[in-house]
């Protein structure tokens, strides 16, 4: 019997950071990646984190993704206080409630596109037939139906990122986090990917938080939060 506390995914805000400080130590130097940041991600947000390199975008995404813990302050993800969660509880939260799209190394290279999407569903305990149907539905929805049996190395960079999005949304998570998802894509593919993510957000009410430098990507956001030196410089809703 699993006695671990199951993460809650109640009607609380998808992610809340309160006076968060995150310090990294490099040799004798300490760098504050986040310096007392407070931000609430609201349900249904299609939120772009923007700002120069080193402003704390990725650090904040990692905290919202339960991939890290704050040095000071409090981060709550779907009502769960990360500071009070064990490593395996955070892994469980990521599996059941969060979706991820990274810049690169998104997919398991020895699995096909469909198998990559199925992986998370299988880990969540979904039956074989149901998860296969779900994976093919999601891939079809993203225009990847014919590529379901291909492995990542047989797909273009844009196609790989779309498969990563498919994997991220297939389990219908409450919050999808994407760290510069278009960084390795050309303009056309970047545009397509953002349009796709936006559609998924509006169709399913999924909350997206993504970091970007690309003005064309920012244009898709419903809310743009600009970070500077680990703090919020501006928070605009479009």
């Amino acid at each position: 019997m699993n006695t671990e506390a199951q993460p809650t995914t109640t009607a609380k805000p998808p992610a809340v950071a309160t006076d968060v400080v995150k310090t990294f130590r490099t040799g004798d130097m300490e760098v504050n990646a986040l310096a007392g940041l407070t931000l609430e991600v609201r349900r249904g947000d299609f939120l772009a984190l923007v700002g120069p390199s080193g402003s704390g975008k990725t650090t904040l995404l990692n905290l919202f993704g339960a991939l890290d813990r704050p040095t000071k302050g409090k981060v709550e993800v779907l009502g769960n206080d990360l500071g009070a969660m064990s490593k395996s509880e955070r892994a469980r939260l990521r599996l059941t409630s969060l979706g991820f799209v990274f810049q690169a190394y998104n997919l398991v290279p020895v699995l096909t596109a469909a198998e990559n999407v199925e992986l998370i569903l299988e880990l969540q305990g979904m039956g074989a037939a149901e998860r296969r149907k779900r994976a093919l539905d999601v891939l079809g929805d993203l225009g990847l139906g014919e590529l379901a049996a291909r492995r990542p190395m047989e797909l273009s960079g844009g196609q790989q990122q779309r498969v990563a999005v498919a994997r991220a949304v297939a389990s219908r998570p409450a919050l999808v986090l994407a760290d510069e998802p278009t960084a390795n894509l050309d303009g056309k593919n970047a545009e397509q990917l953002m349009a796709l993510m936006r559609r998924l957000s509006s169709d399913h009410g999924t909350t997206f938080v993504f970091s970007t430098h690309d003005p064309r990507v920012i244009a898709h956001a419903s809310r743009v939060v600009t970070l500077e030196d680990g703090k919020i410089a501006s928070d605009e809703t479009h």
């Binding site: 990692n62 991820f100 198998e115 880990l123």
Partner: protein
Amino acid sequence: MISTLRIAWRNLGRNTRRTLLALSAIAVAQLAVLAVEGLMNGMTVSIMSSLTGPMVGHAQIHAPLWREEQSPDLAIDRLEERLAAVRATEGVAAALPRIYAPALVAREVDGRAALVVGLDVLRESEAGGMLEGLPAEGRPHDRTALVGAELARAAGIHVGDELAVVGQGADGSMANDLLVVGGILSTPVEMVNRMGVVVSLETAQEIFVMEDMATEITLFGTGSIEDAGSLASRVAHVPEVEELETLPWSELNPELAGIRDITGLYGIVVMFVVFIAAAAGVANTMLMATYERRRELGMMLSVGVGPGRLVTLIVLEALMLGILGVIIGSALGLLLVTYQGHVGIQLADMGSAGNESISFYGLTFMGALHPFLEPADVVPGFVGVIVVSVLAALGPAIGTSRLEPMEAMRS
């Protein structure tokens, strides 16, 4: 679990050269283990068949103290009565009376130390006897003797020669007689080859004044050599031989009994050494594989693959590598040992040059060894590889699973 199995299996194909190298290390290890096992099995059978063959039998009956002093006056008397009782005992396949009497033999003037061996010619000519395979006309009879091949060569004895035999009779008198050499004898028994002058039991009884006597009764049981202990203890309780000493082969020749243990130990040592090599192969492969795939493993941790699942994935990959290697090694080993068993390994190749036999503890092994495998022989390899693979993969697996996902992805 299906995905984990699928990933582990397909990961083996990602670096074919490295996988093939690791597979080769494991396969060669298992091949070496099976080759040694096969050889040991062949040797054990050869040793055991020599042990239970003509000379030693499964057990022996002597008069008390005869083994220490080997004096003719310490012979077994009332031989026929005792033989009849022993032969009627359950589990006794054969009871062969023998006389071993030290003597001097001389062809002309110079005498040589020899051992006159008196045998029940008819019974000893049957399967398993000391004269097995000899044609009827070549067997000893009356005053015609067979002389051990080495003794004949050393003393220049030829068929047809007359030999004078001088020894001590059971009654203390001087025993002497003239024998005619009827043949030169090569047997698996080194002592007979080197010193033996083989005559019929009756002739030996006459020469050494041992009417209705013998120095030894060699026993063969209906069961295997492993049952020799119970055979000896059953016979020891037969009233007619209760006052005599009945011992199984393992107590008569404790050194030979130890051979089986030594061969088993040797197999374990070989297995230990070769599996260290296999472990190094698996450990190296898994270390390299996990190091190269850190970002990918970090990504998997990030999306919710638990640390335990990651450990399972890496260990499964090592296990598949190991089991595949041991299957290949087993197949090659079976082929090799089957081939060796078919053609045989000439003992001359293992012993000193020019000899067609090797001698060990008084027994001569001739001809060829025939290695063979039993189904159970492949089991230690499988178990060893499973243990080695799991142990070799656990280090890198646990190390990777303990990483913070982002730490792994950044590396």
